[in-house]
Amino acid sequence: MSNKDILQLCFGNLLRRRTRTILSVIGVIIGTTAIIVMISIGMGLSYGYQEQLESFGNLHMVEVYNSGGGMSSNGQTNKMDDRTIAKMEKIDGVTVISPQISQYVVIAGDHKRSERQIIGVRTEMLEALNLEVEKGRMINESDKNGLLFGKTAAAMFYDPRRQQGADWGSTEPAIDPLQKFIITNDWDYGTNQEGQNMGETQPIQIEAQGVGMMASADNEYTYNIYTTIEFAQKVKDEFEKAQNGGRPSNNPQGNEYQDLMVYVADLDKVASVSETIRTDYGFGTFSLNDMLKEMQKTANMIEAVLGGIGGISLLVAAIGIANTMIMSVYERTREISVMKVIGASLKDIRKMFLLEAGMIGFGGGVIGVALSYGISYVMNHFLSGAIGGAFGMGSKVSIIPIWLVLAALAFSTMVGVVSGYSPAQRAMNMSVLEGLKNE
């Protein structure tokens, strides 16, 4: 029998038993919808966590501290130097790794000043962060003393003769970021106390050139001023030398760095990279991703519980389908026997019943998916304000990813076919003569 004919026959049979078909389909609709909606709430929750964390910082970033003594689990000690960094660069998942050298400074230009963190990282890191530049350009390695201002950093300049500190909350640049600046260790620079409270420390002034300003004020980088490693190291060394009364610091750590930044493009690998750095190198790490993982574990558990509740309703639907199909086999005993006698193959008989059951499952699944989208829409539009806040959810209460739709359809169809299997087997093995006597 051709598949088209079987399909038509099945449709006919389902339509003939309309009421019962509809009832079994409704069972599947409820089951599928329950599963999808429940899981979508779990997904919404997990997405909400991620949204929340992303507002705190970059989930791709692992910060590495020179703590834990650099003692790896096999007892080896690691110095946080260029050689170790070169090794760490090869860890699976690491996209860019860079030392992070920071110095808190007073920076002044155009009669205004600001107290900022100057951070030196590799330019590849700045590129990996994909920070948009609004004015000027990115730092490049050939910059001797170039500075890239975070948007907020550029806004935090103030005239020290007029006010005590910067205005918070502004993101409008208070200076032209593309000018010459003076970096100094005199915390009274520009005030009328200038140079008077230095104590033992020698006052120094380092020239720097602004080359660009970032576009976004919504990330953690907006508060800082970025430069090359070389320049940041130079500033740091000069500051230490000035503090030591002019003698160059006898850097006890040699060429060691204090902090590293590791950028992991593949979010799924952030955790394993952190783990490797902790155990194989003995450094301390911090990433928002660790927190996300913890939160996601909770979300997954909630998802599983909610999905399980949905699953139970689909199980009930499966019983409904099985019942429908068994009744159908009983009612059609004679019909099946006649078909067998006049030439239906056993395979075709089984196919017919499996297909009918599968169609109930698939049909219910399709309607269930549509209904779920509707419910999801309503929840996102009318409930996200109300309960969203209460449960720490993000902007969406319910998220239905495409894989969930496909999985639900596959699952509901499978439930149909599995429920139909035993009735189909019964139809196939039924005695023809018994069926024909049955009048």
Binding site: M1, S2, D5, G12, N13, R16, R334, E335, V338, M339, K340, V341, I342, G343, A344, S345, L346, K347, D348, V432, L433, L436, E439
Partner: protein
Amino acid sequence: MDDNALIRIRHVRKVYLMGEEKVVALDDVSLDIYKGEFVCFLGTSGSGKSTFLNMVAGLEKPTRGEVWIGKVPIHKLNEAQVTIFRQKNIGFIFQAYHLMQSMTALENVALPLMLKGVPKEIREPAAKKALAQVGLKGYEGRKPNQMSGGQQQRVGIARALVVKPKIIFADEPTGNLDSHTTKDVMDLISKETKENGTTLILVTHDRSIADYADKIVTIQDGNIINVEVKGKKNETA
């Protein structure tokens, strides 16, 4: 016994178990049926006619003995094999017509072709032709419950004829019909099978129907007690 006969039935026995009790439906039956022959199994109710027919058609397995159709040992085939054999070679006409109630006359007649995988464009004209052959032109769209018993049986006959089978089995095909309709239906069956050279095996308890046959096999208590061939003297088994 003739090894060239189309259907060769050899020492077939069928015993049913009813709990502890054995019911011997067929005792020891042997028979030859030739191609194109119209054979009638005649006997009273419970004599074993239907059991015999079912055995030959492969719907039931004999307890003992052999049934050969051509080179095929029907008694050895499993259900899947026997289904394929029936699909290719055999047509059935039932006492209770056994039409699909949800299908039209045309669809009922086309059903065996559909089961064989014949596409709609071919099977529907063929079914239409078969319906015309049995005198039901214009009834294509009728459902079984919109037709008389005689008409339904004509649909049943058309359904058996449409696949052009080598053998047609008919168990009391007129059992539910009045005597007038019975004559029409019997005329139709014997005419159509003769014209196509189809072998026809028909079961009845009615002597007047048996008279249509080329060979009348009388069965009693599970044994053949008489074989009567038209134009020949009775030969006792």
